[in-house]
């Protein structure tokens, strides 16, 4: 029953319903007069001759209103009143003293004992009726309020329970990732999803990680509902090997479509490559991210974009900032709940608070996450904070096998294609604008035996593709990447050359066939570039595969050599052929 229905019920009872009235008076004649009077008014009367009887009748009869003579033998009205009020507990039963007393102290004692009002003897019919109606109105209002309060308590309990269930559902979608990886520290309140904050992290198929922190406008259900498709998109695409820019573009597109005009999501996307020691960051509307470096000053990663869910796909800019890092560098991401923490005098923690907390940390050896949490604690003067703030710290620390993608289901030999061939060629500007790796991975993943090895396949494909694109088509020397000046040059030159690509292609040819032991995937990657001197390449020359320096191309080739059964180079290295075997 809803609140308004209860209200109207109460009103109708007030207008029409007869009441059960308990009266107690030791004078038989007075009691009879009062009883007759009340009965004529349509009420049902329980009568008692003393306090004891009155208390007993109160228990058995559950009256709505009590009229008590103040002075009675056995148990007087005061004592009976105390007992009755104690029994009534939270229920409001108006208790009116009928008395010939008039001294202020006596009347005050009646009220102290629990009385709500007085009626004076001798009885007056009009006064009695008016008093009873007035107290009944009070009783009904009290009853209505109590019921509404109980209903609200119940609704609130239901709501909290629903939120907890919703939270569990959300967790199943949102926390399939690697937030518990050893190089991630974070604080997010258990119900932060209903404050509009989200935090996701996923390993990438070929190593590295993606992290997304977001803050929806608004609170409660709308924010939580907006978060669901963001989580699905993030994890689904990350698993398939899409990069941060592709995912952020897709999330924006989705949010533009589903959110009302006045809602949006501030967010930061981070793509971490631990092998290359490089971060890519896209910040749209969240507070500055901070790179805390062991060897250098703090590095600020400010918001450079509009929040997600505002701009149409055509206007949206998914360009990520590329930052070179060192192992052990730590990236701090936060939602504006951190800046909006306030102390007792209402001052805000702000950007200054963040800076003070994490500056000059290398001398103390403290973890920036701990330092910032402690800073907020000290500032707010409270241990209990952070219901609507999210804080995340990602350490640039690569460990082999760290947060590997969960392996797929056990493959069935019946499902999926065993013998197939596929040629895929990407040409001209598409080389710069489209990342074909998720698609190519998807094709290979149709083979159950390969699905278990998605990470290895992705690594093979991405090494082949990046080698063909950066060194084959764009002719970028990999040495550049390993000096601070060269790093910037490498990426600006890469973008420049990509925009000018003409008469170029990269072609993948796949051939898969079943074998006694399982299957073999042959991949040929050809590009239109000049190739490279593979004859004298140190990796291909050396049997020990030792590296003479941090040459990425060298490392890429080494990976290919390690993962594939065989690797062959043709046409000055612009055609690479690998065989990859999988076993039952």
């Amino acid at each position: 029953m809803d609140v308004s229905a209860k209200e109207s019920n109460a009103e109708s009872a007030a207008a029409s319903g007869p009441l059960k009235v308990l009266i107690a008076d030791d004078s038989d004649s007075d009691r009879l007069i009062l009883k007759t009077l009340l009965t004529r008014l349509g009420h049902h009367v329980l009568d008692a001759a003393n306090g004891h009887e009155a208390v007993a009748l109160f228990h058995s009869g559950q009256p709505d209103i009590v009229l008590l003579d103040a002075l009675m033998p056995a148990m007087d009205g005061m004592e009976a009143a105390r007992e009755i009020k104690r029994c009534a507990g939270e229920r409001m039963v108006p208790l009116i003293f009928i008395t010939s007393l008039s001294a202020a102290e006596d009347l005050a004692r009646c009220l102290e004992a629990g009385g709500d009002g007085f009626l004076s003897k001798p009885y007056n019919r009009v006064m009695i009726e008016a008093k009873i109606n007035a107290f009944n109105r009070m009783r009904l209002m009290h009853q209505t309020l109590s019921e509404q309060r109980d209903l609200m308590h119940e609704r609130n309990r239901q709501l909290l329970e629903e939120q907890h269930v919703a939270r569990r559902v959300f967790d199943n979608v949102a926390h399939t990732g690697c937030l518990d990886a050893p190089n991630i520290r974070y604080h997010a309140s258990p119900l932060s999803i209903f404050s509009g904050d989200v935090l996701f992290a996923s390993p990438r198929p070929a190593g590295g990680m993606l992290v997304f922190a977001g803050d929806f406008t608004g609170h409660g259900l709308p924010a939580a509902m907006g978060a669901m498709p963001v989580a699905e998109t993030f994890y689904g695409m990350a698993r398939k090997g899409f990069d941060g820019a592709d995912i952020i573009r897709e999330i924006n597109q989705k949010l533009v479509h589903i959110l009302p005009k006045n809602m949006f999501c501030c967010g930061v996307m981070v793509e971490a490559d631990f092998e290359l020691s490089q971060l890519k960051v896209w910040n749209g509307g969240l507070p500055d991210g901070w790179l805390v470096r062991s060897s250098d000053a703090l590095f600020r990663l400010p918001s450079r974009h509009l929040p997600l869910g505002i701009l149409s796909a055509g206007q949206f800019n998914a360009e990520m900032e590329t930052i070179r890092t060192c192992p052990g560098d730590r990236l701090l991401l936060m939602t504006d709940g951190v800046l909006e923490c306030s102390n007792e005098s209402g001052e805000l923690f702000g950007e200054r608070g963040v800076r003070l907390a994490v500056e000059g940390l290398d001398t103390t050896g403290q973890h920036p996450f701990d330092a910032l949490m402690r800073g907020i604690q000290r500032f707010t003067g409270s241990q209990k904070f952070g219901d609507d703030l999210t804080l995340c710290c990602l350490e640039m620390d690569y460990q082999e096998g760290l947060a590997a993608l969960p392996e797929g289901a056990v493959p069935s030999i019946l499902a999926g294609p065993a013998e197939w061939t596929c040629i895929y060629e990407l040409r001209e500007h598409s080389l710069g604008e489209f990342n074909p790796l998720p698609l190519l991975l998807h094709i290979c993943m149709e083979v159950p035996g390969l699905r278990r090895r998605s990470g290895e396949i992705y690594t093979l494909l991405s090494e082949l593709y990046n080698n063909a694109l950066e060194h084959g088509v764009l002719e970028l020397p990999s040495e550049w990447k390993y000096t601070p000046e060269g790093f910037g040059r490498y990426y600006s030159e890469r973008a420049l050359r990509l925009s000018k690509v003409s008469d170029h292609y990269i072609r993948f040819s796949f051939h898969h066939e079943p074998m006694q032991w399982g299957g073999r995937l042959r991949v040929i990657c050809e590009d239109s570039g000049q190739g490279f001197d593979f004859q004298n390449h140190p990796v291909l020359q050396s049997t020990k595969m030792e590296q003479s320096g941090p040459r990425y191309a060298g490392r890429g080739l080494m990976l290919l050599k390690r993962l594939a059964e065989s690797i062959r180079f043709h046409e000055q290295g612009s055609r690479v052929e690998i065989n990859y075997d999988w076993y039952f």
């Binding site: 949006f264 509307g285 450079r304 509009l306």
Partner: protein, 101 residues
């Protein structure tokens, strides 16, 4: 009433001035201000000289105004922001959508 509207000197600009906190509590008043601003309006000025605070729901309201005023073709200037308000608009990169003076 924390929101006042008037026409600019050219008669074609609606000036909406907000006093105090620009947050969800002003939602209806802000909407009424531009929806009942009259006809023949070519542009809008949101005057925040008296606004002390602006939250994300206010950003949402500015987006609603932009949509109402024609989306990408809307001519909207946000004027006289104090430094706190300016900072919030900057973090969200709203200068890409509005002229901020």
């Amino acid at each position: 009433m924390p929101i006042h509207t008037r026409r600019g000197h050219d008669g074609k600009t609606l000036i909406i001035r907000i006093e105090g906190r620009f947050d969800f509590s002003t939602h209806q008043a802000f909407r009424d201000a531009y929806e009942h601003g009259g006809t023949g309006i070519h542009g809008y000025i949101v005057d925040l000289s008296e606004a002390t605070y602006l939250d994300s729901s206010a950003l949402g309201m500015l987006l609603l105004l932009r949509d109402y005023a024609g989306g990408d073709d809307a001519i909207i200037a946000i004027e006289n922001c104090n430094s706190d308000v300016r900072k919030i608009l900057t973090i969200s990169n709203f200068e890409q959508l509005f002229t901020i003076r």
